[in-house]
């Protein structure tokens, strides 16, 4: 018979961002073959399943015994050790063996043994003791455990907490002791102010917040879903005079500090409202609304105060103060970093505006506003530079120089911003690599992968004319090449062998890599391409085996066979397309169209002719094909249907 299973790990409030990871682990917990489904709120991790066997079936186990040649004594000793009579042994080949009956076990007993270990084995980013040194570790204290198989408790204990059938409701909305069954668990929770399913809480937040005019934000919705057991949205107001402050500042205060949604006003500005999500069912007296408004007002007041104080000292007068701001312990201050970035911008050919922006871009780190709202670094610098009369190319470059913050984020919108952002990130990478701070595995405390990804994205999307080899060398070049591959594969969706093929033919500027990849991806599906790529591998092999390194002088008329002359003409045609148009797609299309000639050549012509002069001419023909056809992409890297992926 199979039974329903329920496990609820009752805890104190778990950090919202860790919950999905824990659930993914719990979804793999061994329930004697049944498939678990998982749910969570901040105070409970829940595993449920149907069809968990009440008892595992009886089975037989064959235990191999001593060789028959070892004699009766050995056989008796073996049987005794196994708790059986020697008469129960049977012969299998030259050995004795014993068939042992293994009785099935109650599922409840098996789970009582396995669940405590499975719970404590959940991996968390940071764990704690809550009883004493040497006690169990978990993300937050475990305060109750519900463990049921059918209508019976699965008995076990963790840190003095015994499993049972009693759960707890919402801290304010529910009872603190609620007996449950596998059947009524979710509905009992609901009666006690807990919405168990995250998707249901998420939907409630989205629906209610949107109805109040909130500008929804996926990350914030997710956070609120996992810091509430019963989310309810309310709308609050603030004094419209605060709208004089930059929208960036207001939004940051609301979203990042207070976890409120902002509300859009007309036209493309903010409305003097916010939407907060409570962890309770209502606010009949308006106390929660009033409290949140009061907090927001104080926060906005701070922001206004910071704005006013910060204007008393212009960014340009703060460069020296950067000596007091650490960039990294081994790498000194932001003053030194600024000097390096300015020099690099100049070296990269940045104009006066770009150099000015580089000089000022880190100065906002000394402002009260950024000390309070660190997420706004760069943005605040840009806003201040604007307010202090710096020209638009300068303030905009400062504003955008941390971009792109992710692969989805856009690159800076102006050439000045692009070059400052590039120089800033490049300097971080070079500096960190120079002192051995190189990311390994999941360890990347300085977010160097993100910086490198930003460099790649800027170089490609701004079509900047720097060769990667000029910008980075050694270990850092290797590191960057990984990011280049990642970018073109994962972000841009090119096939891995196309990326390998293009990079194998040389990596000049990344914009050029992109152009070649785009052309390659377009021409690849055409009928001649992959067969040509297959032939190309053959050409490579022949050249490698022959050891031919080029240099034979040869003209069309030198060839004896029509197939040779035809291929020679085709080669000339491709070279002409390359010289005349230089357009990758046209060159690749022309190259692909040589396929019938290549096929005919290999059909009719024996390259390794006994006549050494004939052989040398044919090798030269292949040599030139290899050279001219490889400038855009190395076709031998293309995986064709005849290949096995390695």
């Amino acid at each position: 018979m199979s039974l329903d299973f329920l496990l609820e790990i009752g805890t104190e409030e778990i950090p919202h961002w860790m919950i999905p990871g824990a659930l993914a682990q719990l979804a793999k917990v061994d329930l004697l073959g049944a498939s678990p489904t998982v749910d969570a709120t901040p105070r409970r991790l829940v595993v449920r399943a149907e069809g968990v066997p009440e008892r595992t079936p009886d089975s037989e186990q064959i235990v191999k015994g001593p060789p028959i040649s070892a004699g009766d004594k050995a056989a008796e000793g073996f049987a005794r050790k196994q708790g059986a009579d020697a008469s129960a042994l049977r012969k299998a080949g030259n050995y004795y063996e014993l068939v042992k009956k293994v009785s099935g076990r109650d599922g409840r007993d098996i789970l009582a043994e396995s669940l405590p270990a499975a719970i404590v084995a959940i991996q968390w980013p940071k764990t704690m003791h809550w009883t004493e040194r040497g006690g169990p570790r978990f993300i937050r204290p475990i305060r109750w455990l519900v463990a049921l198989l059918g209508d019976q408790v699965i008995p076990f204990e963790i840190a003095g907490v015994k499993s049972g059938n009693v759960t707890r409701g919402h801290r304010q909305l529910g009872a603190s002791t609620i007996p449950v069954t596998t059947g009524n668990y979710e509905s009992e929770l609901r009666r006690n102010g807990v919405i168990l399913a995250a998707h249901e809480r998420r939907h409630k937040i989205e629906k209610e917040a949107a109805a109040l005019g909130a500008k929804l934000d996926g990350d914030l919705v997710e956070t609120l879903t996992y810091i509430t057991e019963f989310p309810t949205a309310i709308k609050g107001d603030f004094d419209p005079t605060y709208l004089e402050l930059p929208a960036e500042v207001l939004t940051t205060v609301m979203r990042h500090h207070q976890k409120y949604f902002s509300v859009e006003g007309m036209p493309d500005g903010l409305a003097p409202n916010f939407v907060a999500v409570m962890n309770t069912s209502g606010d009949p007296e308006g106390l929660v609304k009033h409290g949140n408004e009061r907090v927001l007002k104080a926060r906005f007041n701070d922001a206004r105060f910071f704005w006013n104080v910060d204007q008393q000292k212009k960014l340009a007068n703060r460069v020296g103060d950067l000596t007091h701001v650490t960039f990294q312990a081994k790498l000194g201050s932001y003053k030194e970093k600024t000097e390096r970035v300015v020099a690099l911008v100049e070296e990269l050919g940045g104009n006066g505006h770009a150099q000015r922006a580089a000089l000022l871009c880190k100065c906002d780190l000394t402002t009260e506003m950024v000390k309070e709202f660190t997420d706004l670094q760069g943005v605040v610098g840009g806003l201040y530079a604007h307010a202090q009369g710096e020209p638009e190319p300068v303030w905009r470059a400062i504003y955008e120089h941390y971009q792109p913050l992710s692969m989805e984020d856009s690159i800076p919108s102006t050439p000045e911003g692009q070059i400052v952002a590039l120089a800033d990130k490049l300097d971080t990478l070079r500096s960190c690599f120079s002192v051995g701070m190189i990311p390994s595995g999941s360890k990347d405390p300085f977010a160097l992968r993100r910086a490198a990804q930003g460099v790649v994205k800027i170089l490609v999307e701004a079509k900047l004319d720097y060769q990667l080899d000029q910008l980075v060398q050694g270990d850092l070049r290797e590191f960057m090449m990984d990011r280049v591959k990642y970018y073109f594969r994962e972000v841009r969706g090119f096939k891995y062998d196309e990326v390998n093929a293009v990079l194998a033919s040389g990596c000049w500027t990344l914009a050029d890599v992109e152009a070649r990849l785009t052309a390659l991806a377009e021409v690849r599906p055409t009928e001649n391409f992959e067969p040509l790529a297959a032939s190309f591998k053959r050409i490579r092999n022949i050249l490698r085996q022959s050891g031919y390194t080029g240099g034979e002088r040869v003209l069309e008329a030198d060839f004896e066979q029509e197939a040779e002359r035809e291929l020679y003409r085709e080669l000339e045609r491709v070279v002409k397309v390359a010289t005349d148009s230089g357009e990758y797609r046209a060159i690749l299309t022309a190259t692909a169209s040589t396929r019938p000639s290549v096929d005919r050549f290999f059909d009719k012509v024996m390259v390794m002719d006994e006549d050494l002069i004939v052989r040398a001419r044919r090798l030269e023909l292949l040599y030139r094909i290899n050279m001219h056809f490889s400038t855009i992409a190395d076709f031998s890297e293309i995986v064709t249907s005849g290949d096995t992926k390695s």
Partner: protein
């Protein structure tokens, strides 16, 4: 409506009823109630302890000349240590909010992750900031390590921001407008303090002399940390006096920082100097406890 002092009385009464000793503020400058020996030293070792006290906490860099309605150079914390932490510690905490007049059924309470770490003390813990209608009213921490020592029993530390809570209860926008006692506003008691110490901390403090004081207190502390091993009567050894020197150094560091006198390179070094003193003191205190000291 409760005055500031009413709220303090009620919280002290609440925790006294739950077995806490009610201590008075420590009489050396500290940046937080955590730094008082009643917390920093008492959490070490295997002996259970419960204590609550108000601690005026000085953060020189936070001074705003009395002009900012919410930021103070010196604010009052109500610090509670429950060692070991009882199983229902969060319920007890929520009970304390009810005790000061917060009807939880009408408010929104959230526990948001906030792990505490004090590099100068070699201390860290796991916990939350407690949000009441979007206002952070309490820091709740399960201490894991203090003075570089793993804790035998895990204490719960509850730190109430008294000004914030009281201003919330009184419904005023500026802490200075709160009633401290009937008819007496917070500003009458503390505004001069805020203004004058902002002037001192940011403008008047003599940087050279502060550096010398830092060295002197550090030297005094180091001297006190070297003699323990050979000292015959362990329980007489003045490690508590050594700890006061640590606190002096920590406060001087904060003052120098507020004066903008600490460079990047110096900062890391000084934090380490203070940390070494704190860790050294904690070690001796723990050793003294296991030797059967009077405390």
């Amino acid at each position: 409506m409760d005055t500031f002092q009413d709220t303090v009385f009620k919280l002290k009464r609440y925790w006294a009823d739950r077995g806490a000793i009610i201590q008075e503020p420590y009489d050396v400058e500290v940046g937080a109630g955590t730094m008082c020996p009643e917390t920093f030293l008492r959490v070490l070792g295997p002996k259970p302890y419960r204590v609550a006290y108000v601690q005026p906490s000085r953060r020189p860099a936070d001074g705003r000349y009395g002009e900012n309605p919410n930021r103070l150079y010196k604010h009052q914390q109500l610090q509670v240590i429950l060692k070991p932490s009882p199983n229902d510690v969060l319920d007890q905490y929520l009970g304390s909010l009810k005790a000061i007049g917060i009807d939880l059924s009408k408010h929104d309470i959230k526990f948001e992750e906030d792990n505490w770490e004090a590099p100068t003390l070699g201390a860290w813990g796991i916990g939350w900031q407690v949000m009441l209608d979007g206002l952070e009213i309490t820091q709740f921490t399960y201490f894991q390590q203090c003075g570089g020592i793993d804790l035998d029993l895990v204490p719960a530390e509850i730190t109430y921001g008294l000004e914030r809570i009281s201003a919330f209860l009184q419904g005023v926008d500026s802490v200075y407008d709160m009633e401290w006692a009937p008819g007496v506003r917070y500003s009458e008691v503390r505004l001069a303090d805020e203004l004058q110490f902002s002037v001192y901390n940011f403008e008047a403090a003599n940087v050279d002399r502060l550096w010398r004081l830092l060295s002197e207190h550090e030297a005094e502390c180091k001297e006190l940390l070297t003699g323990y091993d050979k000292y015959p009567d362990k329980h007489r050894y003045p490690v508590l006096a050594a700890y006061e020197q640590v606190l002096k150094c920590s406060h001087l560091f904060n003052l120098l920082d507020a004066r903008g006198a600490i460079s990047v390179t110096e900062r890391v070094g000084i934090i380490k100097r203070v940390r070494d003193l704190a860790v050294g003191t904690a070690k001796i205190w723990a050793a003294q406890q296991s030797e059967g000291a009077l405390a």
